[in-house]
């Protein structure tokens, strides 16, 4: 069936099976492989993307459910090859090691800062509890999100 989406600001049309998961559409059809799959059960958050400005786990969203929506993936977070403050601070604070959880973690953090521009450490830790990281022990991720919040001046 036909599915039309706006991905990272570009209108795209796809012909996909009704059961196609959004994450597979993004990765295999749209070629945006920055969104990762790690648990297929919406527990780990590696597949997090923004759907109409809300962080969703794209491994448990059907592509058809996203019909007509605006999707932002990690590739589209910052325009023109620039870095979003979250990306900058993940780099600065060593908020990643293997990098597999990172795109989802950054987009989850984006939503957290959208809702809470100046979060406390505890709010950050709870805010990313839907995203698993096996490498970092989270501390540098928390530091990165805190630093990004400061850089963004408490507002987006």
């Amino acid at each position: 069936m036909n599915i039309s989406l706006c991905i990272n600001g570009q209108s795209r049309a796809f012909d996909a099976e009704p059961r196609t998961l959004l994450v597979h559409l993004l990765r295999d059809e749209a070629g945006l492989t920055g969104t990762h799959i790690a648990c297929e059960t919406s527990v780990c958050g590696a597949c997090t993307v923004l759907l109409d400005g809300k962080a969703v786990k794209s491994c448990t969203v059907l592509a058809v459910q996203a019909e007509g929506s605006e999707i932002t993936t990690i590739e589209g977070l910052a325009p023109g090859g620039k870095l979003h403050p979250l990306q900058e601070q993940f780099w600065e604070k060593h908020g990643l090691q293997c990098g597999y959880c990172t795109p989802g973690m950054i987009l989850a953090a984006w939503q957290l800062l959208e809702r809470r521009p100046d979060p406390s450490e505890e709010e950050i830790r709870h805010g990313i509890e839907g995203n698993l990281c096996r490498c970092t022990g989270y501390q540098h991720i928390v530091d990165a999100i805190q630093a990004a919040a400061a850089q963004m001046g408490g507002k987006r």
């Binding site: 990762h36 870095l83 990643l96 597999y100 795109p103 830790r125 509890e129 501390q139 928390v142």
Partner: protein, 783 residues
């Protein structure tokens, strides 16, 4: 010996990682991100039973399904693909042959029984569901003790029981040591199975080009060359016609230090069909069919004098091998024996291991790999001993450390620790934690009816794996360094980092010696057609062994470059220095040229220094003369809610000594991650099996990985005791956190429970287990 330059500009500096830009922008490429035209997708039908007879496999419906190109059962592959490779065996180990697809019997839940290849992923998975297997479920061997009962079902009919191997290590005279003790503490201790759970599941993409008779394999692996050699043998293809690429790899923790069935099958099928074949593991498959870690059930006995001096340690242990060995299954358990004396002077030790076949996936290397198990035994036993002797846990540890002056220190397990200062790390950790204050806080909390606990672990680990002879081969690592004609430097490493950050730290190592910027160094790894034959990344060896190889290769090139510069400046090569992007004469600095100019000279080769070939490229294989022995002390403060059994880690203090640090930022990251994993095992993680051998919690919905809000802010510090085993003086850091944290957290929880008379519980210390123990104690029952 080569050495760090006198005034390093980059080594020891917390430079941010050079690989991050691609990772934070979603531009990195993991195996599944490679999309070759015409790729076929592979999926498996796996046994739902822990143990079953396979009376028939009917592939007809699968073959007829849309998009299916091929389907295979075990019988279709007989004689065509060799068994899964095994190494690191001990004498007289019974070695079952692990086929690529199960034949007459399935021996663990998740064992692949049939493979289906189709045009799309969805079609492949659909078709795998259409494979009809006639199973007859059989009794499964799950429990390690029951596995050895005479009436137990046998995992392998060709062996007379479920004993996989027996191995022992002894030093001193264990009986005399126990006789010399005033008290002997005995405790049965389990170290349950856990899953490594790299966030990126395993995956392989194999592409055979019939015209060239060449194959490229992209695999999420820690050991690309090992994979190439072993796969070549398995599928009967010349090794030098296979190229293995480890692209971006999303974590390993030991689980990708292996050669798995699916890799061999993908390689076989692409050659059969002449099209690219991809298999990406699902998380469910990862739980079932990627190696597990730990899996020990033992009985420990520690003898001590009244003053806390350890006289002897005995550990008899059952080792859960699973149904088949993977690459290093057996070897991992022997590492526990080598590590058994830990950081203590224990004159008499003995460990007897009985490897046990069970109807489960194999165990193998998982972060720490045998050494956390030894540390856990020691640290638990010392806490029990301290309790018995009325000593402070810190004091009993201090009492048994070798003094700084006693290094190099030869242990009763036969290793020689080259350097160490265990007192310093303990003192620093206690000071940082405010240990006396922590104890006062605990006493005050107890008066208020709250349960605070303080846990310690002091550890040493065997890292920088390792001397080849001690490892049964291949303990070295390779590096090639090339100065390009334009003055850029390329480092080719045989190590295969997958998140550790050596693209940065190796560049730091190279840049310092050449006096150039880190940005001018490119680090290449993970491609067998490009880098020299390498061993890979595991066992805290990447920097220690791989980085040392870079040092030697780099110095060879630098020495050669100095000869070209000496010729140009009519100076002595020993008087040539490299700094600030220039090559100059140390005693006459006005004689200088840009680094790139000298590099170009070596390639132009219009004039050559005597006995010197053109070009600037050197390779070094670094063979470490010994292991390295990082150590440290971790101090944990927890609060346990006796009403619910919930544990909250209030503080976590870690003082680790990893020798010289190349990049302290990366070191911190490694320790953080290690602590989190170790704490996960202490509190939450365990693979739970039903009686039929099916894992009951084989999803991330049921298997609890530590989350951000469950962990505290880690308070780190370090001492620095360099090793003389390698030119960097670095000792390795990949496993330190995991080794230190598990016992520290468990000890803290049990310290909190001490007022209830609960002195030992097996991991994981989930709320329910704690709540039950407390409830029993309150009712006056046995703890």
């Amino acid at each position: 010996m080569a050495s760090i330059p006198e005034a390093p500009k980059f080594i020891g500096v917390p430079i941010k990682r050079r690989d991050d830009p691609r990772l934070i922008q979603g531009r990195a490429r993991y195996v599944d991100d490679f999309q070759l035209p015409g790729t076929l997708h592979m999926a498996f039908a796996r046994s739902p039973y822990g143990h079953a007879a396979i009376r028939g496999v009917d592939l007809s419906k699968a073959r007829a399904a849309p998009g299916v190109v091929a389907a295979y059962a075990g019988a279709d592959l007989a004689g065509k693909i060799g068994p899964v490779p095994v190494a690191g065996l001990v004498p007289d180990a019974r070695v079952p042959v692990q086929p690529v697809l199960a034949g007459g019997r399935a021996l663990f839940a998740g064992e692949p029984v049939a493979a289906v290849v189709a045009r799309t992923r969805y079609q492949a998975r659909d078709a795998a569901d259409l494979v009809e297997v006639d199973y007859q479920a059989l009794d499964a061997v799950v429990d390690l003790e029951k596995a050895l009962a005479p009436a137990a079902p046998r995992v392998h009919a060709q062996f007379e029981d479920n004993v996989a191997f027996r191995w022992a290590i002894a030093g001193g005279d264990i009986e005399a040591g126990l006789r010399a003790a005033d008290v002997v503490i005995k405790q049965k201790i389990a170290n349950p199975r856990v899953v490594p759970l790299a966030l990126e599941p395993r995956g392989v993409l194999a592409h055979y080009l019939p015209g060239e008779d060449k194959m490229t394999i992209w695999s999420s692996t820690q050991v690309p060359h090992k994979l190439r050699t072993l796969l070549a043998q398995q599928i009967g293809m010349a090794e030098n016609r296979i190229r293995v690429i480890a692209p971006e790899v999303g974590g390993g923790f030991g689980s990708k230090l292996n050669v798995y069935r699916e890799e061999a099958l993908a390689a076989y099928v692409t050659r059969e069909l002449g099209r690219p074949v991809k298999w990406i593991e699902s998380r469910g498959e990862n739980f079932l069919a990627t190696i597990h870690g730990r899996g020990q059930l033992g009985e420990a006995e520690m003898g001590l004098r009244r003053d806390g001096t350890i006289t002897a340690l005995r550990y008899n242990v059952l080792a859960d091998c699973g149904a088949y060995y993977q690459l290093l299954t057996v070897a991992i358990f022997t590492l526990t024996g080598l590590m058994l004396p830990g950081p203590y002077k224990i004159p008499h030790i003995e460990m007897k291991v009985t490897g046990v076949f069970t109807h489960k996936m194999a165990t193998d290397a998982y972060r720490g790999a045998g050494r956390p198990e030894a540390t856990y035994i020691l640290e638990r036993m010392l806490d029990l001993a301290a309790l018995e002797l009325g000593m402070d846990p810190a004091e009993i540890r201090r009492k048994n450390f070798p003094a700084k002056a006693e290094f190099p220190y030869a242990t009763s397990a036969g290793l020689t620790y080259d350097s160490g200062d265990y007192h310093a790390a303990l003192d620093k950790a206690l000071q940082k934690a405010g240990y006396p204050e922590m104890r006062r806080q605990q006493a005050e909390a107890r008066r208020q009816g709250r349960c605070l606990g303080v846990g310690l672990s002091t550890y040493v680990e065997i890292c920088g794996m390792g001397p080849s002879a001690a490892l049964g081969g291949q303990g070295w690592e390779s590096a090639r360094v090339r100065v390009e004609p334009t003055g850029k430097v390329t480092v080719f490493s045989g190590a295969s980092p997958h998140g550790q950050g050596q693209e940065t730290s190796f560049a730091q190592i190279a840049a310092d010696a050449f006096g150039i910027a880190v940005e001018d160094v490119e680090v290449i790894h993970g491609d067998t057609d490009v880098v020299p034959y390498g061993v890979g990344t595991f066992g805290s060896r990447g920097t220690v062994v791989g980085g040392s190889a870079v040092v030697f290769a780099r110095d060879k090139v630098r020495d050669k470059m100095a000869r070209f510069a000496a010729m140009r400046f009519e100076a002595d090569a020993a008087d040539i220095a490299f700094a600030g992007g220039k090559v100059f004469v140390r005693s006459a600095p006005e004689k200088s040229a840009p680094f790139a100019r000298i590099a170009q000279m070596a390639y132009d080769a219009i004039q050559l220094p005597p006995g010197t070939e053109p070009g600037l490229e050197e390779t070094h294989f670094f063979e470490p003369p010994n292991f390295t022995f990082p150590f440290g002390t971790h101090v944990v403060l927890v609060e346990v809610d006796p009403q619910t059994g919930e544990v909250k880690i209030l503080r976590y203090v870690a003082v680790d000594d990893v020798g010289n640090m190349i990049n302290p930022l990366l070191v911190r990251g490694q320790i953080h991650g290690g602590i989190a994993q170790g704490a996960g095992q202490a509190l939450e993680e365990e693979v739970i099996y039903g009686g039929g051998g099916q894992p009951l919690n084989a999803t991330l919905m049921h298997y609890a990985l530590p989350k951000a809000h469950q962990l505290p802010r880690f308070e780190l510090d370090h001492t620095t005791t360099p090793t003389s085993v390698n030119p960097l003086g670095a000792k390795g850091v990949g496993e330190a956190g995991t080794i230190g944290s598990t016992p520290a957290v468990v000890n803290a929880v049990l310290d909190a429970l001490a007022p209830f008379g609960v002195h030992h519980l097996d991991m994981p210390l989930r709320p329910e287990k704690i709540w039950r123990a407390v409830s029993r104690a309150r009712k006056g029952g046995p703890a």
